[in-house]
Symmetry: C2
Subunit: 332 residues, 2 copies
């Protein structure tokens, strides 16, 4: 069974591929458990660092908005597409055309290619809590209407409606996950307005300083990289009936404040780790973060068997186990 991962060299794509190589079992086009024998990782840039050297894994570099590239990528052998390729929020906000081309045209091209196959593949689509914004209730439940305040969020919600309609028409067997902010992201800080949520844990645990640009009361809706990979896999293996006609789910997560993150940091890394975090208020970042939904009730996702991390200690431990294995982080 062949699996395609678009955006395969991104943080989640990499971890998903690692997981599929380690445990190569998903559901095939006939609804049966089957072995993943081939994975194609597609991305706009060549992976750096390289992806694992494994005979089952092929890396293809190209644009998701290039129909010919996508036609070559997804073929009748493909049982499942994990569609993660996207221009993220800050970049799509800066470059509207790029956001529309990659996120909207790219998704349409991917779905059209899936429709053209001799079978309806499972398509697991990465959406985002960036779907929510504007006037919101204090708690986002499964009934709250998406009201994205970024082009990124708008293109993600449009993709959800396309996933629903392509599934209703029987062109694909689609599943869309609204991802919380993923914490702790490994690697270096990026330009996302949420990057501090990972930085204030990752950097001190690796012995580096970190600056927090928001108040201690600031909250974030979070999920660990390990749980998000589990969620993508779970979304793929669930029966269509478990999804019902509406193919979108708010993933469970946890709400964590900066204070709670720093407490978990102290427990894992001691006072010396905690002391590496300083505050330098950035009103621009604060305003963006305050505009995000941070508290959810996700009965649908929980009933479907999606799982959040237990607490911030688990989120920190996932990072230590998966991204800093064997490293000594407690220095007090």
């Amino acid at each position: 069974m062949k699996v395609v991962v678009t955006g395969g060299t991104g943080m989640i794509g990499r971890k998903l591929i690692d997981s599929l190589l380690a445990t190569p079992e998903l559901i095939d086009r006939d609804g049966n458990k089957a072995e993943v024998t081939a994975i194609t990782a597609f991305d706009v840039v060549a992976p750096n660092p390289p992806l694992p050297d494994d005979p089952r894994l092929t890396v293809v570099t190209g644009e998701i908005s290039d129909a010919a590239a996508v036609e070559a990528l997804i073929d009748d052998d493909t049982d499942t597409v994990f569609h993660l390729a996207a221009v993220v929020s800050a970049q799509a906000e800066e470059d509207f055309d790029l956001g529309m081309r990659v996120n909207l045209d790219g998704t349409r091209i991917t779905l059209e290619r899936c429709r053209a196959l001799d079978h309806a593949p499972r398509v697991v689509y990465a959406s985002s809590v960036a779907a929510f914004g504007g006037d919101m209730p204090d708690v986002i439940d499964d009934s709250v209407t998406p009201n994205p305040q970024t082009t990124y969020g708008v293109t993600k919600v449009i993709g959800e409606y396309l996933i629903d309609d392509y599934s209703r028409k029987g062109f694909i067997d689609g599943r869309a996950l609204r991802l919380p902010t993923i914490v702790v992201r490994p690697g270096r800080p990026n330009k996302a307005a949420s990057t501090w949520a990972s930085s204030i844990l990752r950097e001190p645990l690796a012995g580096h300083a970190a600056v927090c640009p928001v108040t201690e009361e600031s909250k974030m809706w979070m999920l660990s990289p390990r749980r998000v990979v589990e969620s993508f896999r779970h979304a793929q293996v669930l029966d269509g009936e478990a999804w019902g006609p509406h193919r979108v789910v708010n993933l469970p997560g946890i709400t964590g404040s900066v204070t709670e993150s720093l407490q978990a940091l102290s427990r894992a890394g001691g006072n010396s780790a905690r002391a590496r975090v300083t505050f330098e208020h950035d009103p621009f970042i604060q305003e963006i973060v305050d505009g995000w939904a941070n508290t959810f009730k996700t009965p649908r996702g929980l009933e479907m068997g999606f799982k959040a991390d237990t607490d911030l200690d688990e989120i920190v431990n996932v990072f230590l186990e998966d991204d800093l294995p064997g490293q000594h982080v407690y220095y007090d």
Copy 2:
């Protein structure tokens, strides 16, 4: 001031153009009242019957999904675009590619062209209660999440999200109206699953027989052609602040059952008119109609000054006054 009406030869487009020719006042790009001196009606077919012979009116035939045609259509002189061009529900359901091309690509091309102008034009967009479907509460209020069950509805909702984002970015000054079923449609019955709602009033009042394919209890969310034209005009003249950041509104309407329609028919046309309606149950049509939202609360639309018809008698009278003027309909 130049106004473009896409879908200008359709039922609503024609009535909107008639209204603009009769009362040529809208709001210009600077927010001031101004005279409509030029109207361009754009549609895929030449108007039949012809549109009024008026020096202010130009008819252009072309595809809304043809970027070059739309580029020629909408120019820097254009202050407002009423974007009504669409493939309707049954047709988009039969021909998915056509629905996506006209409704989604056509809307994107229209919005991109508006964005390219030297000013941000007002764009008034026809959306639909087909946005709602699936599991719904008994009463649709302004908080209910669109869950369209047709490709038509999906493309309309996607258009709403684009209108919102293009407005947020300052590319256009957009306004989207979710239209109830328009009753009484003049002309001949069409293939829409809702066509009976007009037929059971229009045909008997014109002396013809009509067949009702649904039960007497069946309900519909309705608005008259006169009120929908008023709504498009009102949407154009409202200030941006009246809309706020979310540029979509559920239009007020009235809920009417078949029984209530037939009572209004009797009052307007007598027992002989009522006797021209017979019932011939069509389970296919019944199922579609039962799946539609028929009862709404529209506080946002009402607060913004949009108005529904008072009752079914008014809906019938609008038809008699606007589409059967001077004709004797009461034969008892």
